[in-house]
């Protein structure tokens, strides 16, 4: 639980994001999580609990406690 600006508490959950534990606000979809991370959904691919998510589904898949999320993109390679 983290205090918010209004003196309220906002519920957070722990997920594993790109191999690292990370606390994020509860109630995210994968798409809203990407937005919060500043990632353009058109330039990354998301794997959610080992399932690859098509872009059209990003906004309808909720992020839950304990989820394992990988966000990948294309980098230089041979």
């Amino acid at each position: 639980m983290k205090p918010t600006g209004q003196g309220m508490t906002q519920e957070t959950i722990e997920i594993t994001l790109n191999g690292q534990p990370r606390r994020v606000a509860a109630g995210h979809t994968v798409l809203s999580l990407l937005n919060e991370l500043g990632l353009h959904p058109g330039l990354v691919v998301v794997e959610h609990n080992r399932e690859i998510l098509e872009r059209a589904r990003l906004g309808s898949v909720p992020v839950g406690a304990g989820d394992v999320i990988e966000v990948v993109h294309f980098v230089g390679g041979g």
Binding site: L17, N18, L43, V45, I52, E54, V72, H73, G76, G77
Partner: protein, 266 residues
């Protein structure tokens, strides 16, 4: 009087998986000193097929730029690889992630079997190739210069087979021209030599074996002037291809005079 200088020999189109490409030189995007240098070198190479890797986004950097910021997928055909994968399962996972990016359903399949030599695990490569072909991928499979494996990969439905010239990043050039020629003789799908080319002469000699194309990365990225080397490679690939089509003179272990032996003065 005018003369024609067009060669009699005409090349056949370079077609992989039913798609025609204009350049027989394919290049990678790794290890360049700067993105600007990479973009300039790729432009100078004339390559159309450009390989890219799939990796985690670096979340700690404020603005991590993927390769798509620098290379226009409308101008280049981006070919994702499975570099760094050591099992068939891992390679299939990377290929599917790459496909989900929405560019195409092609993959340069690489399953590495040994860290020191980066030589392929051919059994795992074959297993992954079968899975990916069944899943609708166009698979271009990196392999060693073994003709039996190359035949198995073709049988598995690969769109192209990519034997190495020498180990990845070694720059040792074409170490086994006989095996490469044999693979080319025996396969119907395109044979694209991948890895090991170090300089323009390596590329030229490789193309002279009759293979359909070459993929290189380090030879450009680690040259002191990658743009100049890219141009050299472009010319070398064209020269080697043309020399192959032209058909070289026989090798002889004795000299044969080029000037008439008759008509000499007493």
């Amino acid at each position: 009087m005018t003369t024609t200088t067009q060669p009699v020999t005409r090349d056949v189109p370079f077609v992989i998986g039913g798609r025609e490409f204009r350049s027989r030189l394919m290049v990678g995007t790794g290890k360049y000193r700067t993105n600007e240098e990479m973009v300039a070198a790729i432009d100078a190479s004339g390559a159309e097929i450009i390989t890219v890797a799939v990796r985690r986004v670096d979340l700690d950097r404020t603005k991590e730029e993927g390769i798509l910021f620098h290379l226009d997928p409308k101008r280049y055909f981006l070919l994702p690889n499975t570099a760094g994968c050591y099992t068939a399962e891992e390679a299939v996972r990377y290929a599917r992630l790459a496909r989900a990016a929405g560019l195409n359903d092609w993959v340069k399949l690489e399953v590495i079997g040994d860290q020191r030599t980066l030589l392929p695990d051919v059994m795992a490569t074959l297993e992954a190739a079968k899975t990916l072909v069944a899943d609708g991928f166009k698979v271009l499979a990196y392999t060693n210069e073994d003709v039996v494996t190359a035949l198995r990969l073709e049988d598995a439905g690969c769109a192209a087979v990519m034997p190495l010239a020498s180990p990845i990043g070694s720059g040792l050039g074409l170490v086994n021209p006989y095996y490469i020629r044999e693979i080319k003789r025996r396969l119907s799908v395109p044979v694209i030599v991948d890895a090991g080319v170090g300089t323009a002469s390596d590329a030229c000699v490789t193309m002279e074996q009759g293979v359909d194309g070459i993929l290189m990365n380090t030879a450009l990225a680690e040259a002191q002037d990658p743009v100049a080397m890219a141009r050299a490679m472009r010319l070398a690939v064209e020269a080697g291809r043309l020399a192959y089509l032209a058909g070289r003179m026989p090798r002889r272990e004795v000299a044969v005079p080029s000037s008439p032996v008759t008509g000499m003065l007493d």
